[in-house]
Amino acid sequence: MATDITFEQVNYWYQAGTPFAVHALKDINLKIKPGSFTAVIGQTGSGKSTLIQHFNALLKPTSGTVTIGDRVITNATKNKHLKPLRKKVGMVFQFPENQLFEETVIKDIAFGPQNFGVSEADAQALAKRMAGEVGLDESLLSRSPFDLSGGQMRRVAIAGVLALEPEVLVLDEPTAGLDPRGRSEIMQLVTRLREEQGLTIVLITHQMDDVANYADHVIVMGHGKLLKQGSPRAIFSDPAWLEDHELGLPSATKLAYELQQGGFHFDQMPLKIAELADQIVPQLPKGAITHE
């Protein structure tokens, strides 16, 4: 069954009822559709991480309701029986490699499913499959996860979440701290999981180029509020608004605005380098183009 996630009038307070209470989420309404790729953007401290912790009831709303598939979560929801949700919505936190702990890579990946009652043999088979899925070589499976590079450790952590066979995969800055090659490998992996297995993807990111290249829906958070949502094209069509909210543009779009001031004309603002190049070429004189 496809799982969608709906927020209705969600508020969340940290340290509620104490002098240190912080209103971290304010009247959030949103819907994550099955099979979609949603990017959550916003400045540091805007409430992005608080928001996604409601996606599998790690946090419960102080007021309002979060509906995950057929489960309705409110402030009154008991912590019992939340386990199926944690399996349905897989969560990859920042620096997930910090959560690795087992002696071998395969044991670490198999830990999740075993915790959910899968037999050791089945969990190991599943772990092997997921390791392949994230591009970890089989020779690494018997190694200690702590002997691996940062990029490889992150793949082990993602494989551990995938081994729960979730329907929704939520990733909080999964590429932070990786080198550019590692970053593009992780993003390609996420795209493939969505295309091949129909996973719903929710990605928190600061990389506007990733939003432009991969997402079909964008949620903009600011000071605990949902400021705007829409397609990447709609979100990035208003640079003045983004500037007001201290958010950037994809690099191709930013360059296009500069070229526009230099006399170039764009029917539709490009979001990707290829789109930008496509629109520049017809505006260059014939002499600039070589025909082989």
Binding site: Q94, S149, G177, R181, G263, I273, L284, T290
Partner: protein, 277 residues
Amino acid sequence: MAIIRVENLNYQYSNSDTKAIDDVSFEIQAGDWVAIVGHNGSGKSTLAKLLIGLMAADSGKITIDGQVLTPDTVWQIREKVGMVFQNPDNQFVGATVADDVAFGMENRSVDRPTMATKVEQALKQVGMYDYKDREPANLSGGQKQRVALAGIIAIAPKILILDEATSMLDPRGRQEILAVIQQLKADLNLTVLSITHDIDEASNADRIVVIDDGHFVEEATPSELFTHGRQLVDMGLDVPLPEKLKDALQARHVTVPRSYLDERGLVDWLRTSRLNK
């Protein structure tokens, strides 16, 4: 004067077949900003840990501000070096943001009124003063990194080592922190060693050193290095945007200049080309 001098440094992890740092020698002059780049696993972070004596080298000599690093001098040397890591969670100790910033000074027996002033100044410099009474654990990744940097600013070290320290910041936050560091460098003649994958951070450096498989393979100014185009990815950096667009235009049969153009240069070149009808 060289504030950091490294001679024939070697280090091998006990569980590895190859050296993580292989006969590395270099010097960094006081007041310089040097970026060390390289892909994940190239040996960059190992080098940083050796420099402040978090791990002991197998052989070779490290001299910091005229003092040779030994088990006897390591504590004196660390007084001169501030280090900010990629993941600030690993370096928080205080119950509040202000306590955390004060911690380094407590260790250095700074008196209380001075401490209070310095905490305030440091937090204002990184734009986190409004958060001084908050718990570090409840901050976002980028905010934590600012607090970690404030802790370093408060102790005013001679050398600042940034180990992927801006990787958790959004582009604007990164620019702000880099500007703060530039300012500190100018005010205090701070020597900055930044280990990074970020092309913006690397472009702030006076020199960039490329490390691969534990060796120093190249040393250049940012604009020299950025002409390498796609090879930059092997060095753990991204290809600069103007180079990416040049590639895309070339693929569409446009004749493009060979030399490195920054964004301004590229926009100017395209503008001129458009008018040459």
